[in-house]
Symmetry: C2
């Protein structure tokens, strides 16, 4: 049986620079599909291209308009190929109408000096935190993940505004599909909108632009396997109907797998 | 007399969706022009487009290949226009070869609840710090800015590796041109590469992808005028020839003008 994630990122090749995918009801968000699955599909599209070199280093996805239920086409091309990296432009459309645009940087990783300056938040192990189904009551796709909140769970009906926008959770695919680059791209968008915490309520909100930097190499992804990862996010400023979010995704043994940022539209 | 910044972002209109600019020797970087001036030019290109609505909210620039001295063409189009925001795709090329690709989100700001959760670093006033010309000895364009480092100045010949990648500086255009969105886009790329600090040396390094979220509205930019802004940056992880940087740009009176992130290639 194909895992829901693999079904969702499966693409038909229409021609060298065109892929066709489709939405899946289990990945539904408040409007259209989960942004993370769209990010995953775009990474997958580049991975299927015969000219692709290397692995994902950076991805920016602009959610320009809601993706309707059904088929979508992805037009992609390498705008420039250098010796060790490659710049892609992608456009996802339905019936000729652009829904999502993206740029992706792929590259060949090579051994250099390295260090992780950021530190993961100090939290109990996932086994010591009960899984929460709260987010799954608001959006269908969240039911596909095991989420264990160490900090900043989804506000309930009785919640008050929080002075902090930070959420930290352990998260794992419920069906224990292993983490590869598309899965990591999706995990980077796992957080509900930070404005919910600050306002103590679920409000209309949606990511407009999402940027992810992939730090993990293949070996580090392989080490994660199907284990929980630790995801933490906060906002810097809310103003004029938009806020920004910065987040990190860590492996259990303290490898910074990705850093990721987004700007989110909100009402109220 | 035209200010060097205005000369650098000046664009000829070739047709509705094409602008022509040119490099200027005073904006030269180690290779090609300062990334910040390229970001500024791309914002300016959208601003000159008759279909543009609103002001910059987000910009992602992928520096795909070195821009040679001379003319460049910018092809731009609104991939999608919504009621209150607009998604642009831009490609900068020279002799038909793509050098830079970008996406931009423009939108109309509206009054909502707001709060700044981030806090500016605590530093002495710019008047209490001597301006440093160090960066100007490495790159020509830095001579156009007044830079006063509170933390993490450019390493010198005798420098040791620093355990921290943080740089915090007051910065102002030397000729006191006022801060608008293109100028803010440029200020977001003001930092020399974080790997210099961590390695205690100047090494080959260059930004590959830069994302900026513009938080300031027009009134907040007008309040900055030609004053110093406070810019602070740090890296999260260095590995496999790349590192990421996250940064903030603040006004003197504590308005978070922009948050900005980049992934940077380095050698050694």
């Amino acid at each position: 049986m194909t895992h829901p994630f693999d079904s969702a990122i499966y693409l038909d090749t229409i021609d060298t620079n065109t892929r066709r995918g489709r939405t899946h009801p289990e990945w539904a968000n408040m409007v259209g599909p989960f942004g993370g699955i769209t990010a995953a599909v775009l990474i997958r599209a580049v991975e299927t291209h015969p000219d692709r070199i290397g692995d994902p280093l950076a991805l920016t996805v602009n959610f320009a308009g809601p993706i309707a239920d059904g088929d979508f086409d992805i037009a992609l091309r390498a705008a420039r190929t250098n010796r060790s990296n490659q710049h892609w432009i992608l456009e996802l459309s339905q019936d000729g109408e652009v829904k999502t645009i993206a740029t992706a940087l792929f590259g060949i990783r090579r051994d250099t000096w390295g260090d992780t300056e950021a530190r993961p938040p100090t939290v109990p192990a996932p086994e010591q935190i009960a899984p929460s189904g709260d987010q799954g009551r608001v959006v269908v796709w969240a039911r596909l993940y095991d989420m264990r909140f160490a900090d900043g769970a989804l506000p309930g009906e009785e919640s008050q505004p929080s002075p902090s926008s930070t959420t930290t959770l352990w998260v794992r695919d419920n069906a224990k599909r292993t983490v590869d680059y598309p899965a990591l791209a999706a995990l980077c968008d796992i957080f509900y909108p930070r404005v919910f915490l600050r306002r103590g309520a679920v409000l209309p909100a949606g990511t407009v632009s999402l940027t992810t930097y992939f730090h993990a190499d293949q070996q580090q992804l392989d080490s994660v396997g199907d284990d929980h990862v630790l995801a933490t996010a906060h906002a810097n400023r809310f103003s004029n109907g938009y806020f920004d979010q910065s987040a990190q995704v860590w492996s259990r043994d303290g490898v910074l797998l990705a850093t990721t940022h987004q700007i989110v539209y909100f009402k109220g």
